[in-house]
């Protein structure tokens, strides 16, 4: 097969960090090429250079035998390179056709475009209705819009950035079928992911990045997942230690919890119920957009419900706000690090005060802040959880994702709660920090706390959870023990393919 894109010695540095260093590899026409690496390895930066969003400091690229230096995404698109981002560039209040039109250079008139969308989407097994508002679509369907937007421009190289983080196992199958079809037709695919099993199943070639450099190129099908993981991280990984535990009394009881979503396009919770004992870890799986955020808000107290819907250590708490619930022993760590769990422009010390005021006694009787105690608390968090930061007066936004997440989770854990609820605890965090966070959660459970972990990462849940449930369109499946679960079974609990039509393979 002929080489489509050749990347030679690409280098990019930012102040204080080398994102990519002398990266070289080649993609052949029609090949499904994986770009593998953990968070922070430099995959996104590399791909942004290929797509024209970022200019390399050194090195060159050759596409179709011609020098390739896109100054902006438009140039990349014109050259036949298309990209589906991890975070969609979609407009919720506009419909599918309008969204597609916005992603195109010179779109045809609406009616023609709508017809084309129907054609192409069905042909590749991802049917779409052009008139629907994007805000009403599920995450998997939104991804389809992004893909169809790319396909309509007849790309030679399709770049996909972490595409399966928002899909159920069944939806992943559908996507893979589409990608194989494209590959057979001669479109090359650059597939970025850190999900080893998927890469082994789908990709022909894998280039592995670590700390901005290429460490290896291999055929993923010939290696085991463990070998790939070790190449990615560079060390031997050990699964977290699970201390033996005796479940204690019931710490959290949820019954008949139904709340509307505060967001205009959010998912309402419907009749959620479960019961959790001290020392147990409940893992809640689900792809984005099925009510995870709302569940955390309902448990943390930002969303109110009837008093009996949520009981913390036996006390009715549904009608209480976050601080009252902290007093009863429930703490929470929301998904959005900057902006929700922490105030980006406030210092770490102030952020420690934000959630720790109640349980750590940081505010005096008349409402005056105990500055010294606050500083001590923040310092303790930084020390105990290995948060890399110049000091506690640094603004939260200056920390890297992994370090901020360690701080946020650490802040909640050090409050010695009876119940802790975390949403996506290791999203966007490098492997070392992620392992530390998971271990910390397990240790907390070992000390007798009840842990609710909501996550899109099934591997993570299977590692730490004792009990397992899935959140699908606002409903929770009946919790069941983790032993004996299959990926297939989990996928079905997560809602299968969410009613997305599966078009028949292109003959």
């Amino acid at each position: 097969m002929t080489v489509l894109l050749s990347v030679e010695g690409l280098t990019k540095t930012y102040p204080g960090v080398v994102a990519n260093s002398e990266v070289s590899f080649a993609i052949a026409g029609g090949e499904i090429h994986a770009l593998l690496g953990e968070n922070g390895a430099g995959k996104s930066t590399l791909v942004k250079m290929i797509y024209g969003l970022v200019r390399p400091d050194a090195g060159r690229m050759v596409l179709h035998g011609q020098p390739y230096e896109p100054a902006e995404p438009r140039a990349a698109r014109a050259a036949g390179v298309a990209m589906v981002f991890q975070h969609f560039s979609l407009f919720e209040a506009l419909n599918v056709a309008e969204n597609v039109a916005l992603g195109m250079e010179s779109p045809p008139p609406m009616r023609r475009l709508a017809a084309r969308i129907r054609e192409v989407s069905t042909e590749y097994g991802l049917p779409l209705d052009p008139g629907r508002l994007v805000g009403d679509l599920s995450a998997g369907e939104r991804q389809r819009v992004e893909i169809v937007r790319c396909l309509l421009q007849d790309p030679k190289l399709l770049i996909m950035d972490e595409p399966t983080s928002v899909l159920t196992p069944q939806e992943v199958e559908i996507l893979f079928r589409t990608l194989r079809q494209l590959s057979a037709e001669g479109t090359a695919i650059l597939y970025i992911s850190h999900k080893l099993e998927e890469i082994r199943a789908l990709c022909d070639v894998a280039t592995i990045l670590r700390r901005g450099k290429v460490v290896d190129t291999c055929t993923p099908g010939e290696k085991s997942a463990r070998e790939l993981a070790e190449m990615m991280v560079g060390t031997v990984l050990t699964p977290p230690a699970r201390p033996a535990k005796q479940p204690g009394p019931v710490a959290l009881e949820v019954a008949g919890l139904s709340v509307a979503s505060p967001a205009p396009f959010g998912t309402a919770l419907k009749d959620i119920g479960f019961s959790l004992r001290r020392g147990e870890v409940l893992g809640i799986a689900g792809v984005a957009g099925n009510g995870q955020d709302e569940l955390l808000l309902a448990l943390s107290g930002e969303l109110r419900s009837p008093p009996e819907a949520v009981r913390i250590t036996g006390q009715p708490a549904g009608h209480l706000g976050p601080n009252a619930r902290r007093r009863l022993g429930l703490v929470a760590a929301p998904e959005e690090r900057l902006g929700h769990a922490a105030a980006p422009d406030m210092s770490l010390a102030e952020n420690a005060l934000l959630s720790g005021a109640v349980r750590k006694g940081l505010v005096g009787g008349a409402g005056f802040i105990d500055r010294a105690a606050t500083r001590d608390f923040a310092t303790e968090i930084v020390a105990r959880f290995d948060v890399r930061t110049p000091g506690i007066e640094v603004a939260a936004r200056a920390l890297s994702g992994g370090n901020l997440q360690k701080f946020v989770i650490g802040r909640e854990i050090l409050q010695e709660p009876a119940v802790i609820v975390v949403n996506q605890p290791t999203w966007g965090v490098d492997a070392a920090a992620a392992a530390a966070i998971r271990q910390a959660l397990l240790d907390l459970a070992g000390r007798g706390a009840a842990v609710v972990a909501i996550s899109q990462d099934l591997d993570e849940l299977l590692e730490i959870a004792d009990i397992f449930a899935a959140l699908n369109e606002g409903r929770l499946t009946t919790p069941r023990p983790v032993e004996g679960l299959t990926v297939e079974g989990i996928g079905l609990m997560m809602g299968g393919a969410h009613g997305m039509e599966v078009a028949h393979a292109h003959g």
Binding site: E72, S89, A93
Partner: protein, 310 residues
């Protein structure tokens, strides 16, 4: 109290005239807000447009030049707003207020030499006997060109927003400026153009006040019309057709209360003059308390500044 002196057809015609300044300003602000920017300086831009239009019209003797001058004046002021909020990322609320205060003061300054002068007249539409017919003619066919232009703008803006690529891009920018930027659209440039358009429209509205509606120059003559225009945009759920409705409603109340004052109704003048503002508040409350659809039309990025990160 003599209510018979109020002729409904004449009343309707007067309402259309009274509504035109706020209609123009509100349409302009609608475009600006659809692009995601909240410009509270409408009052300042209107009054600057009023004096610029007045001054130019008096100096050149031509109302058309006057309107152009008004539009340019409003646009110039909005340029300051655009630079401050889009390039220097200043807080939109504070900057809009500064604009209003500055506009009020500056216009009073320029207007010093124009108090008491009469502006040049403008030819009204005259289709002969048809125009003089009691109902249809009075209401529809005897206005000055700007009233018709205003109505034309309503249709034009609606069509552009709904059907054209330019309108689509504008809406996208207002909806999700990060996504628009990721797709390669020049968010800042689009917003600046929208702001300038809004300024020109507000200036036109103000010029209409000083040139046609009153027609005189007095310090502070907009008397809160700019704020009403802002409220109108919310009231109209960011839809041009509803802006027209709202403008007529407000114009209607203003005219009605003036007529009531004149006809000797037994309510003190001051209370009557409060009524337009109170009614506007009432309408705002009703509109914001409705869920769902009204919220859907508000551009999601409204009021938030765009930080380009590369």
């Amino acid at each position: 109290m003599d209510l018979s002196a109020i002729n409904p057809a004449v009343l309707m015609a007067t309402v259309m005239v009274a509504a035109t300044p706020i209609l123009l300003a509100a349409l302009g602000e609608l475009v600006v807000e659809k692009a995601g920017v909240l410009n509270l300086g409408v009052e300042g831009m209107m009054i600057l447009g009023a004096i610029c239009g007045f001054a130019v019209a008096v100096e050149t003797g031509s109302p058309v030049m006057g309107f152009l001058g008004g539009a340019l004046g409003g646009a110039a002021l909005s340029l300051i707003f655009a630079l401050l909020t889009q390039y220097l990322l200043a807080n939109q609320v504070a900057t809009g207020l500064a604009l209003t205060l500055f506009g009020l003061g500056f216009s009073a300054l320029i207007g010093q030499g124009y108090v008491g002068i009469k502006p040049p007249e403008w030819v009204r539409l005259d289709l002969g006997a048809v125009s003089r017919s009691p109902v249809v003619g009075t209401i529809l066919l005897r206005h000055d060109p700007m009233v018709y232009t205003g109505l034309g703008f309503v249709v034009a803006i609606w069509a552009v927003l709904k059907f054209s690529r330019v309108g689509l891009i504008l809406r996208a920018v207002g909806e999700n400026h990060d996504a628009a930027h990721a797709l390669g659209y020049k968010v800042i440039r689009i917003r600046i153009l929208a702001i300038l358009f809004g300024g020109a429209m507000a200036g036109l509205g103000g010029a209409y006040l000083s040139l046609m509606r009153v027609p005189l120059w007095t310090e502070g003559m907009t008397a809160g019309a700019g704020w009403i225009a802002l409220a109108l945009v919310v009231f109209a759920s960011w839809r041009p057709g509803r802006v027209l409705l709202g403008a007529y409603l407000f114009g209607g109340i203003t005219v009605l209360q003036l007529n009531l004052q004149a006809s000797g109704v037994r309510i003190p003048v001051e209370y009557l003059s409060m009524s337009p503002y109170l009614i506007t508040i009432l309408v705002l409350v009703v509109m914001s308390s409705g869920r769902g659809r009204a919220a859907l039309n508000a551009p999601a990025s409204l009021g938030r500044n765009f930080h380009a990160t590369h």
